[in-house]
């Protein structure tokens, strides 16, 4: 329970379905935080909701695991010029691994979260499947793409069947204070006051870099090459006017950021690493989504081996920032097939 409305209602739905429910909040971050799942205020909200629902509530301190599996890799990704998605890594290493394993050890049959997505049981020769949430605009299946058969078999996503307004209405009907709470937006361990630059900069050295165009002509400078993202348009310090320019390449070692026109970003295929399939290998047509709320685009999946999958776009697409999740859905856009991180 994050203290938000979705996990609150998830707990209520399970309680009403007759399950023996215990609310858990993970304490992940000991430092500054103003939003997300880590702050004391959010733990207070989660505890109060559990009290109102008549559920026991506990807090598990997974701070060491979070530092090792989320924060450190986040910093290392920036150092390497990639664009990390810490929420995906938190789901992969904390929620659906560390917490799920502890829940199993303590005798629980399942772990439930407030994600907007659906777990579909085995049927017609297929295994467990992960589907988009009923509220397409709030769908979070993208950040759950790493769940495999074992994970899905012990996962419940009760609010995945509801639209967000219904979730809020249920919370209000239950008298929960979290009914009107805003959705969390940002990375939980980075404060809006100090931001990403201060966070990374206080833990890793940041280096200025030269901004050049695709012809190698110097256009300006950025203060921290580690924080530049492929596809980025703003904050490049170039001269105003003319067509919009985008980052097409980040070379940390050479301290060089290359910018180009929108067309320079377009690629015919995209490799993804560390790919995990939800329910078996799918070589063939798919819809592929490359950001949390991005439009899925038609492509063909080609398994390259070694956990690498090549996404062959049917029409050229913008290059995905290395480190971002690349998630494949079935051609009807209902089920997650698998996903990995952009190379």
């Amino acid at each position: 329970m994050s203290g938000g409305v979705d996990s609150s209602v998830a707990a209520a739905l399970l309680r009403d379905a007759g399950h023996e429910v215990v609310g858990v909040t993970m304490k992940l971050w000991g430092g500054e935080s103003d939003t997300g799942c880590c702050s004391v205020a959010d733990v207070d909200d989660a505890r109060r909701v559990a009290q109102q629902l008549g559920l026991d509530h506990v807090v598990f301190n997974f701070g060491d695991d979070f530092a090792a599996h989320v924060v450190e890799p986040y910093l290392e990704a920036h150092v390497a010029g990639r664009t990390p998605n810490p929420c995906v890594e938190c789901n992969r290493h904390l929620k659906f691994a560390r917490l799920a394993e502890r829940a199993e050890q303590l005798g629980f049959d399942a772990l439930a979260t407030g994600h907007h997505a659906r777990v579909l049981p085995p049927a017609e020769g297929r295994g467990w499947r992960l589907g988009r949430g009923a509220d397409r605009s709030k769908d979070q299946s993208y950040v759950l793409h790493m769940l495999d058969q074992r994970d899905l078999a012990r996962t419940l996503l009760p609010v995945g069947e509801l639209r967000k307004p219904e979730v809020r209405a249920r919370a209000a009907a239950l008298g929960l204070r979290t009914a009107g709470k805003a959705d969390s937006q940002d990375v939980c361990f980075i404060t809006s006051q100090h931001g990403r630059r201060a966070f990374v900069g206080s833990r890793r050295p940041l280096h200025p870099a030269t901004v050049v165009d695709t012809g190698g002509r110097r256009l300006g400078e950025v203060p921290a090459v580690e924080l530049v993202t492929v596809g980025q348009r703003k904050g490049l310090g170039g001269p105003g006017g003319g067509p919009a320019r985008y980052v097409v390449d980040v070379d940390v070692a050479a301290r060089r950021v290359t910018v180009g026109l929108r067309d320079d970003l377009l690629v015919g295929e995209q490799d993804a690493l560390g790919w995990r399939w939800v329910d078996g290998v799918v070589d063939g047509p798919a819809l592929v989504q490359v950001s949390a709320h991005g439009q899925p685009r038609p492509a063909t999946l080609v398994v390259a081996g070694g956990g690498v999958v090549t996404v062959r776009w049917h029409d050229a697409e913008r290059r995905v920032a290395p480190g971002q999740s690349v998630v494949a859905y079935d051609p009807t856009d209902a089920l997650v097939l698998g996903g990995g991180l952009a190379a």
């Binding site: 909040t25 304490k27 004391v40 733990v43 505890r47 506990v58 598990f60 301190n61 050890q105 303590l106």
Partner: protein, 375 residues
């Protein structure tokens, strides 16, 4: 709470409700309750009634001692690393010195001596450690401080002490002594600081000048009266309670050591108070163990709870040099005046089974003859 304390406070929540600082008859009646309580607290701590300052909790008493002394007199504050955060953070807040402790969590007297000089104005050493139960050598501490830091005021956080040891004797050399009611059968939200003659502190709270200008704010009359009554009963029955609880604690710990593979006592019993059982269980995460114990109706603790309610790694065990992976299996089982045989039986039944569940693959100690009952 002790029933005597509950009974003592009820009239002050009903017919004797007045503010003791007023000038009318009802106030005088409430004032009498506070003054009688002050006599009891003074006797229990070995001070004079005028030396007792009632506070809102033990933390406030500790803060008043450390911050109040430095703000009044300047100079440097010193404390050992295993102090309660109420002292440790106050000392750190005024830029003080933190000294090392030994493997049992008691202040290292040599390190303390090294940290002392003429600039030191307050030295704070707890009477009994709240996590591991170790008793501090207060007389030795006082001797070192008087010799090396003659200007220093001696403070002891005795929040964990009153129920087990005679503070009037043990802390006789200390200028400031902090206690908290809920640790000996009184209510939460009331404490006291003994400020012995000569010592002066800058108040933390400004206002009506209660407690001889040392702690402004309307008295929590019912809480103060209940604290005093709990203290009176505690002191009157202490010898008997210590003997009884020590026997319970010994049976509990001996039973656990015999039944749980990989369970070790953290501090030798001859250095601890009677009510403290602190163990480390190898290969077990205490958050999981606490959860299972809780579900079985056993209320235990690990380190000290942080503001989110999660267990933070213990700064006390870290200061003692206990490796982090050992500390993650730390478990505090605290006994008190109300502890009973059946409760020890229950823990001896539930805890071994819970540990077994969390470390099912662990080979049992050869020759231990372990039989784990399933609760």
């Amino acid at each position: 709470m002790r029933p005597e304390a509950v009974e003592a406070m009820l009239p002050f929540l009903t017919e004797r409700f007045a503010n003791p600082s007023g000038s009318h008859g009802a106030s005088r009646d409430a004032r009498r309750g506070v003054d009688e309580a002050r006599d009891v607290v003074a006797d229990a701590l070995g001070g004079a009634p005028g030396e007792v300052v009632f506070t809102g909790c033990g933390t406030e008493a500790d803060n008043l001692a450390v911050l109040g002394t430095v703000r009044r007199h300047g100079g440097v504050a010193v404390c050992p690393a295993a102090e309660h955060h109420a002292v440790l953070q106050a000392v750190e807040h005024v830029g003080g010195r933190v000294v090392t402790v030994d493997a049992a969590g008691a202040v290292d007297l040599d390190a303390l001596a090294d940290a002392l000089d003429e600039s030191v104005r307050v030295v704070s050493v707890m009477a009994v450690n709240n996590e591991v139960g170790t008793i501090s050598p207060l007389a030795e501490v006082a001797a070192v401080v008087r010799e090396r830091a003659p200007a220093a005021v001696l403070h002891t956080d005795a929040v964990q002490g009153l129920q087990w040891i005679d503070l009037a004797a043990a802390a006789a050399d200390f200028d400031l002594v902090a206690v908290s009611a809920h640790k000996f059968g009184g209510p939460k939200g009331v404490g006291a600081l003994l400020v012995r003659g000569g010592a002066t502190v800058e108040p933390l709270l400004m206002g009506g000048g209660q407690e001889r200008d040392r702690r402004s704010g309307t008295h929590n009359v019912a809480g103060i009266v209940a604290m005093a009554e709990a203290m009176r009963v505690t002191v009157a029955t202490r010898t008997e309670t210590v003997a009884r609880v020590q026997a319970l604690r010994d049976r509990l710990v001996d039973g656990l050591v015999a039944r749980v593979p990989g369970l070790r006592e953290t501090v030798a019993r001859d250095r601890k108070v009677a009510g403290s059982a602190h163990v480390c269980v190898e290969g077990v995460e205490n958050e999981s163990l606490l959860f299972l114990l809780d579900r079985a109706g056993v209320c235990a603790s690990a380190a000290s709870a942080c503001s989110s309610g999660a267990m933070d790694p213990s700064h006390v065990l870290a200061a003692m040099g206990v490796p982090r992976e050992v500390a993650s299996g730390a478990l505090r089982l605290s006994l008190g005046w109300a502890s009973r045989d059946e409760e020890v039986d229950r823990v001896l039944e539930v805890l071994p089974a819970s540990v077994l569940r969390l470390q099912p693959d662990r080979p049992e100690r050869p020759g231990a003859g372990v039989e784990v009952p399933v609760p």
